[in-house]
């Protein structure tokens, strides 16, 4: 069986990316009410909702680089819509490559490996916000303090992406995304088995 991605595979990945982006937007609305910690773990919420999409992609394609292409398309679409951001692209693509190496070898990849791959994929997205905060946080902090937000409040937001809280956010994102894959398996496995039969 040819394991290279063909045009038809790329089109399917593109369509699933469109579904994923809608789920991403829904998760952004959900996290907006959860405050700064919600914002830090928003990729995890997205992973929780979109596990079925990633599982479906693997069961239909199961080809190497499917998650990397998917991530590049997500980043490309965000860039066209003004959400492009270089550190986000770098961390997301690096983790997508790792996810592909872990789970994209076949259509029969065990769910635990897909769960780990989804966790890595979404941790890559979360790191896009967490890693730059180390470099740009001071300019943001002074900007917002100038605009009237108190120093204590500003430090309250920042702490969710730095140090131990940054690690906690990463862990929460990974767990939520992995759970999302099991949720996806729960809702999809009977449909996929029916089709296979």
């Amino acid at each position: 069986m040819n394991r290279k991605l063909k045009m038809k595979d790329l089109v399917l990945i593109a369509l699933l990316t469109a579904v994923y982006m809608l789920l991403y937007m829904v998760s952004m609305v959900v996290v907006s009410v959860l405050g700064p910690f919600g914002h830090a773990i928003s990729p995890g919420i997205c992973g929780l909702l979109s596990g079925a999409v990633l599982l479906f992609m693997n069961r239909r394609l199961g080809k190497m680089w499917e998650y990397t292409v998917f991530t590049l398309l997500v980043m490309g679409a965000f860039a066209l819509m003004g959400g492009g951001y270089l550190p986000w692209l770098v961390s997301s693509v690096a983790m997508a490559v790792t996810a592909d190496l872990l789970a994209s070898g076949s259509r029969e990849t065990p769910v635990w490996r897909l769960a780990a791959a989804s966790g890595l994929l979404h941790v890559g997205q979360a790191w896009g916000a967490i890693i730059p905060s180390v470099f740009f946080v001071e300019s943001y902090r002074s900007h917002w303090i100038e605009r009237g937000v108190s120093a204590e409040e500003m430090d309250g937001y920042i702490r969710f992406t730095r140090g131990a809280m940054g690690l906690l956010s990463t862990a929460v994102v990974f767990v939520l995304a992995a759970l999302g894959m099991y949720l996806g398996y729960l809702i999809l496995h009977k449909h996929l088995e029916k089709r296979k039969a």
């Binding site: 038809k8 089109v11 300019s139 949720l183």
Partner: protein, 222 residues
């Protein structure tokens, strides 16, 4: 008048970079004015008015949040303010999605020398986001009509009814789109010709120059 999609792309790539260097209060006004100018050039006055209304609501919400000191007030103020920063991007994205056909976009992105399969896939993503959003609405409506509305008591089942049809529809749609694309020679390795004139005009170069100049000055002048 037409604006080349590459100008829109350049704008949406430059704005997030500029946002990383806050400190100049005119920076945001510059991007908002630029995006408004583009919509006016394209005679999209009604869309511009809609975006400006949303902007005004966010601005008001950001100010009102600051009246309530404390963590929540401060958070929502920052949240609304940051959302406002990206409204110019959404204005430009609306141009990309609403005012150009997929064929025009593919032709316009050709000079970037990106792999064609990637460009085609990207255009499919942009084209189908609004379509799927509409279709999710239809699914929700048909669920309601069949007496299986959303229920927080059965969240997994509700989610399943909502998502699974769309996933299988993607698989069918992929076959149809690929067949249509192959018929139109999408895999042909040669240079793609275009019915549309997507060359950069002098006005596009002028807009790009203004954008680069404005962004550079506002990043350095802090």
């Amino acid at each position: 008048m037409r604006v080349n999609p590459l100008v829109v792309l350049l704008f949406n790539l430059l704005l997030p970079v500029a946002v990383m260097f806050p400190g100049n209060r005119f920076q945001h006004l510059f991007f908002l004015s630029f995006a408004s100018f583009i919509l006016l050039l394209l005679r999209r006055g009604r869309r511009l008015a809609l975006f400006l209304c949303v902007y005004a609501v966010f601005l008001a919400a950001s100010r009102v949040s600051l009246w309530h000191p404390g963590f929540a007030g401060g958070f929502f103020s920052v949240f609304f303010y940051i959302s406002m920063q990206f409204i110019p991007c959404l204005m430009m994205a609306s141009v990309l999605i609403g005012d150009y056909s997929p064929g025009e976009l593919i032709s316009a992105l050709q000079p970037l020398h990106l792999p064609r399969s990637f460009v085609v896939s990207l255009v499919i993503v942009l084209r189908y986001i609004p379509t799927f959003r509409r279709e999710f609405g239809y699914i929700r409506e048909s669920m309601r009509l069949r007496g299986v509305p959303y229920s927080v008591r059965r969240p997994v089942q509700s989610f399943e009814f909502f998502l699974v049809p769309q996933l299988f529809r993607c698989a069918l749609l992929a076959d149809e789109i690929t067949a249509a694309g192959l018929t139109k020679g999408i895999t042909h390795p040669g240079r793609r010709s275009s019915y549309y004139d997507v060359r950069m005009q002098w006005s596009d170069y002028a807009l790009c120059a203004a954008l680069f100049l404005g962004t550079g000055v506002l990043i350095l002048w802090r």
